[in-house]
Structures are given as structure tokens and as C-alpha cells.
């Protein structure tokens, strides 16, 4: 077994994801199978291979720099328009600090 239900709960905690018990069971089985397939990466030799984090092609380093100039921002009203709860120009969330 590659992953236990205990680990599934731990990872869900890292991901800030609430899961029901049936979801934990199903994810354990699914992830176990997928990680089983991923095991095959052990078989390919990557000695001296540089990791590839981005697609690179021949271009000058500063090709994609933009001019450093001011632009009008979205504005508070627009930025808050999709917030489930806002007030006084801020995003509102449940109380974080108890008095």
C-alpha cells in the first residue's frame, strides 16, 4: 500500500480540504492506484539531468519584460464585488483573534 487513510487525512489537512469518511475511503483507493502507476518513474535514469521547471526556448532574457510604469488599479469596489462578504473596503472573514 502506497498511502494510508491516515495519510489521506493528513494531506487533506495540509490542503485545507474537509472530506467526508466515504471520500477518505475513495481517495485512499484512488491515490493508491495512481501512486502505484507513478512508481515507474524509479525505472528511468535521470542522472545528470537538469530538472525542467519551465518551457525554455531561444529568446533574450529581457524579451518578456514590460515597461515599468503606473497603471490604474481595479479599485476597491470592483475588487470586492465578488467577495461573499465585505465591508468598509475590506474582505470580511470569521473572527480570527478572540478578545
Amino acid at each position: 500500500m502506497k498511502i494510508s487513510e491516515e495519510q489521506v487525512r493528513y494531506v487533506a489537512d495540509l490542503a485545507n480540504l474537509s472530506l467526508s469518511e466515504p471520500e477518505v475511503h475513495k481517495l485512499q483507493a484512488d491515490l493508491d492506484e495512481i501512486l502505484g502507476h507513478i512508481e515507474r518513474l524509479k525505472d528511468i535514469d535521470t542522472t545528470d539531468v537538469e530538472p525542467m521547471a519551465q518551457v525554455l526556448y531561444d529568446a533574450a532574457e529581457n524579451d518578456t519584460w514590460r515597461a515599468d510604469c503606473e497603471r490604474p488599479p481595479l479599485g476597491t469596489h470592483t475588487a470586492l464585488a465578488n467577495a461573499p462578504q465585505s465591508g468598509d473596503g475590506y474582505f470580511k472573514v470569521p473572527k480570527v483573534i478572540e478578545r
Partner: protein, 478 residues
């Protein structure tokens, strides 16, 4: 007016000859699309006001004798992971069911500046995660050619709309095959351009090192036209390339004699017999056109699915962290504390596939696993890119299947995530390497299901990719 089979060129001619106005065309296209939509669920919502306003601007330009733009009056469908100012953009997710973006994606801005009409937003797998369009929170899309089958995914709505004729062209997004695979399943053309060729500003991020915006169309010419409009440097996306954008239609000259093509043996192993036969017939047709086809090997292919599902999910787990109940419309009713708000919003908001990918991505990045999974996958990605670079030293383009099989039945694979992931094998390699690739129709099975042929080319060599696809399309029509 018959709008279901119009091409960009026919619309241009019709407008110039004053056979119809852009507003008349937009009205008829909207009427037809809204009437047809219940049979496929391709569109999630329509934008009649926006389309009609854009059409009126096109008519005004024509009346003034001005150039109305390369896409004047062309009805376009936009995948609902691409943001549209003031027009609901859901990403196929319950989390964003009410999200109204405050800005337009660059690709949308450019196609509208060229006279295109955004008819509406198309259904897709939630946050573009899926290969069947069954992961949409708003119901699956049915394949217009076979209503009991999937249209492919994740750009299933865009592919179905173009196939059904409810849009002339469409925008999709591709991270692991999400444009090419549905294009192949629906019998249309789908293009994943070179990484960086089209700005991703306004494309909802899934896996940023792999995400692309690209066109779907009923012909290679229309896809090439749309790409020409949306491609090019954008100061809003630092990963967009500065390389000049050629006129892609100039390369549709049929001049493919002597082109060297590679047929990778690793891509022919697991095909259904009908798909294999159709691809073989396609390759024979290319030979007949004077192309020189040789067998090549891309040895790292067997590791591509494993590599992709580490990198894509790792990036996704980070990109989807923003949907936590603070900024984006949905917040769980059970949000007593901040932590409960985060967890319950995400637990209630995300569908099963997104949760699976967030979990896998978080796991492979978690302490103690980074080197074994993420770093290893990045090295394997380099090997996959190297395979292509070596192949392109001896061939001008690579031809391959898009999918091991044609459109499958709704529900057939939804309970087996690994099988679904494995079906992406032939499309994810192009995304990992960042090279341009496309699907072009390559005949139908005895049961009438379309099969797509994939063409892959060197970075920024869209011209040769289109040249080959166009010649093949014309040969297939004869």
C-alpha cells in the same frame, strides 16, 4: 440564413457583399445555438447583448468603409475557464457559479477587437480537469455526433459547439490535451500553440507551466486565422513570447512535398484497431502527398503520464488554493471559524476530480516526498523535451494519434481515474515539451465516430504544422 456550416471566409464575403449584416447573422446564430443547446449542453450561458453590440460595431465599420477586422461578424464560443468582463465565468465549478469577472482575458479582448462576436461561454470539466467533460458541476456535455457519448474534455463544450455548428470557432484551453482530445472526439480541428504563443492573462490557472489557450474550428484555415488574431506578446503575461506572429494563412499553400515526418513507435502500441487503421490510412495519404515518413522513437513516452500527473497536480494544488471562501463568491454556510471556512468552502465547493488532484498535488509536494516525486518528474519532463528535440533534428514534424480510442460512452470511465489519466498519454507529451501540436480530423470509425490525427512541430513552427494539416484536410476532402 444557414449559420451551422459557415466559415470565417464565407462570413467575410457575405458581409462585404451585403448579403447579410453582422447583426442579422448574430441574431440567427444566437437563435440557432439556443435552440440546439439542450441536445448537447455545450453552452453554459449565452451573451446575446454582448454579441449583438459587437455585431453592431462591425456593421458600423462596414458602413463607414473601414476594415471590420479579421474575424468580423464571426460567432465565437469561449470556454468558461477564460474570463469575460461582466459575463459570468464559472470554470465548470460550483465554487464560481456566481463569479462575474472584472476584466477580459487578452485572447477575448483580441478576438473582439478583430470583430469576433462572443456568443456565450462553454461547458468544461471543472477547472479544466478531465478528459470527458463529465466533471462539470453543470452537467456533462453530449457529443453532437453520438449523444450517448462524451465530447472529450476538458474543452468539451467548445468542441461540441463547433461540431454542432452553434459556433464558427471557439476558444479552448489545453494543459494535457484538453483542446486536441475533444477536437478529435467531435471531428473538428483543435490547436495547442507553442507554450507562450498566446497570452494566458485571464485564463483561470490550472497548471501554469503547462496551460495554453488555443483555437477550435471546423477547418485548418479558420483555426489558423483565429490563432493569428489571439497570438503574440502581451505585457500582462510575462510568459508570453515576443517572437513575431506570422500570417499563418500564408502557410496554407499545399507545399508539403519533401517534408520529413516522424511516426513515433511508442504512440502506436495501445490503439484500438480502428483508430490504428485510420491513422495508418492518414499516414499513407501524407506519403501520397510527397511527405517522407520515417519511424522514430520517443523513449521517455512510457513515463509521461506519471510525470504529467505529478507536475500538473502539484501546480494545481497551489493554483486552486485561492478558492477559500474569501474572494470568490462561494463561502460555506458552516464557517464558524476561519479554518472551518477554508475547509468547508473547499470541501463543499470542489467536485471529486478537483479534490483528487488537489490531494495528489499536495501529497507529492509534502515534506519528504518532494525529491522522489516533483523533482524526479521535472527531470523526466526534461527527458521528454529532449526526445522531441532529438527527433526534430531529423524530421520536420511528428504525426501520431490524439487518443488511443474514439469517444467513449458517458459514464464508461468516470469511476476509474487512472484509466482516464492513461488515456491522455499521446497528448500530454506535447504540453510537457511546450511544442505546438494539433488535432486534424482523420476519418471515422464504422460506427461513425471521428478520429483525430495529431501533428506536432518544433517550437514556434506553427506554419509547418498548419501547412501539413491543411494539405491533409484537403486530401481527405477529395
Amino acid at each position: 440564413m444557414e449559420t451551422a456550416s459557415l466559415s470565417v471566409g464565407q462570413i467575410r464575403q457575405g458581409l462585404q457583399a451585403r448579403r447579410f449584416s453582422a447583426v442579422e447573422l448574430a441574431r440567427e446564430a444566437l437563435r440557432f445555438a439556443e435552440a440546439q443547446n439542450p441536445s448537447t449542453n455545450a453552452y453554459l450561458h449565452f451573451s446575446p447583448e454582448r454579441a449583438l453590440n459587437a455585431a453592431a460595431r462591425v456593421d458600423e465599420k462596414i458602413a463607414r468603409g473601414e476594415d471590420p477586422g479579421a474575424l468580423a461578424g464571426v460567432p465565437v464560443a469561449v470556454k468558461d475557464v477564460i474570463v469575460t468582463k461582466g459575463l459570468r465565468t464559472t470554470c465548470g465549478s460550483r465554487l464560481l457559479a456566481g463569479y462575474i469577472p472584472p476584466y477580459d482575458a487578452t485572447a477575448v479582448e483580441r478576438l473582439e477587437a478583430a470583430g469576433g462576436l462572443v456568443l456565450g461561454k462553454t461547458n468544461c470539466d471543472e477547472f479544466a480537469m478531465g478528459s470527458s467533460n463529465e466533471n462539470s458541476a453543470f452537467g456533462p456535455v453530449r457529443n453532437p455526433l453520438a449523444p450517448d457519448r462524451v465530447p472529450g474534455g476538458s474543452s468539451g463544450g467548445s468542441a461540441a459547439a463547433v461540431a454542432q455548428g452553434t459556433a464558427v470557432v471557439a476558444l479552448g484551453s489545453d494543459t494535457g490535451g484538453s483542446i486536441r482530445q475533444p477536437a478529435s472526439f467531435c471531428g473538428v480541428v483543435g490547436v495547442t500553440p507553442t507554450y507562450g504563443r498566446v497570452s494566458r492573462y485571464g485564463l483561470t490557472a490550472f497548471a501554469s507551466s503547462l496551460d495554453h489557450v488555443g483555437p477550435l474550428a471546423r477547418s485548418v484555415r479558420d483555426a489558423a486565422l483565429l490563432l493569428g488574431v489571439i497570438a503574440g506578446r502581451d505585457p500582462q503575461d510575462a510568459t508570453s513570447a515576443a517572437a513575431p506572429v506570422p500570417d499563418y494563412t500564408q502557410s496554407l499553400d499545399g507545399n508539403v512535398k519533401g517534408l520529413k515526418l516522424g511516426l513515433p513507435r511508442e504512440y502506436l502500441k495501445d490503439l484500438t484497431s480502428e483508430t490504428g487503421d485510420l491513422i495508418a490510412a492518414g499516414v499513407a495519404a501524407l506519403r501520397k502527398l510527397g511527405c517522407e515518413v520515417r519511424d522514430i522513437s520517443l523513449p521517455a513516452t512510457d513515463y509521461a503520464v506519471a510525470c504529467y500527473y505529478i507536475i500538473a497536480t502539484a501546480e494545481a494544488s497551489s493554483n486552486l488554493a485561492r478558492y477559500d471562501g474569501v474572494r470568490y463568491t462561494f463561502r460555506s454556510a458552516s464557517s464558524g471559524t476561519l479554518s472551518e471556512m477554508y475547509r468547508n468552502t473547499r470541501g463543499e465547493g470542489f467536485g471529486a476530480e478537483c479534490k483528487r488532484r488537489i490531494m495528489l498535488g499536495t501529497y507529492v509536494l509534502s515534506a519528504g516526498y518532494y525529491d522522489a516525486y516533483y523533482l524526479k518528474a521535472q527531470k523526466v519532463r526534461a527527458l521528454i523535451a529532449r526526445d522531441f528535440a532529438r527527433a526534430f533534428e531529423e524530421v520536420d514534424a511528428i504525426v501520431a494519434p490524439v487518443s488511443p480510442f474514439p469517444a467513449f460512452k458517458l459514464g464508461e470511465k468516470i469511476d476509474d481515474p487512472l484509466a482516464m489519466y492513461l488515456s491522455d498519454i499521446y497528448t500530454i507529451t506535447g504540453d510537457l515539451a511546450g511544442i505546438p501540436c494539433m488535432s486534424v480530423p482523420c476519418g471515422k470509425t464504422a460506427g461513425g465516430l471521428p478520429v483525430g490525427m495529431q501533428i506536432l512541430a518544433r517550437h514556434f513552427d506553427e506554419p509547418n504544422m498548419f501547412r501539413l494539416a491543411d494539405a491533409f484536410e484537403r486530401a481527405s476532402a477529395n
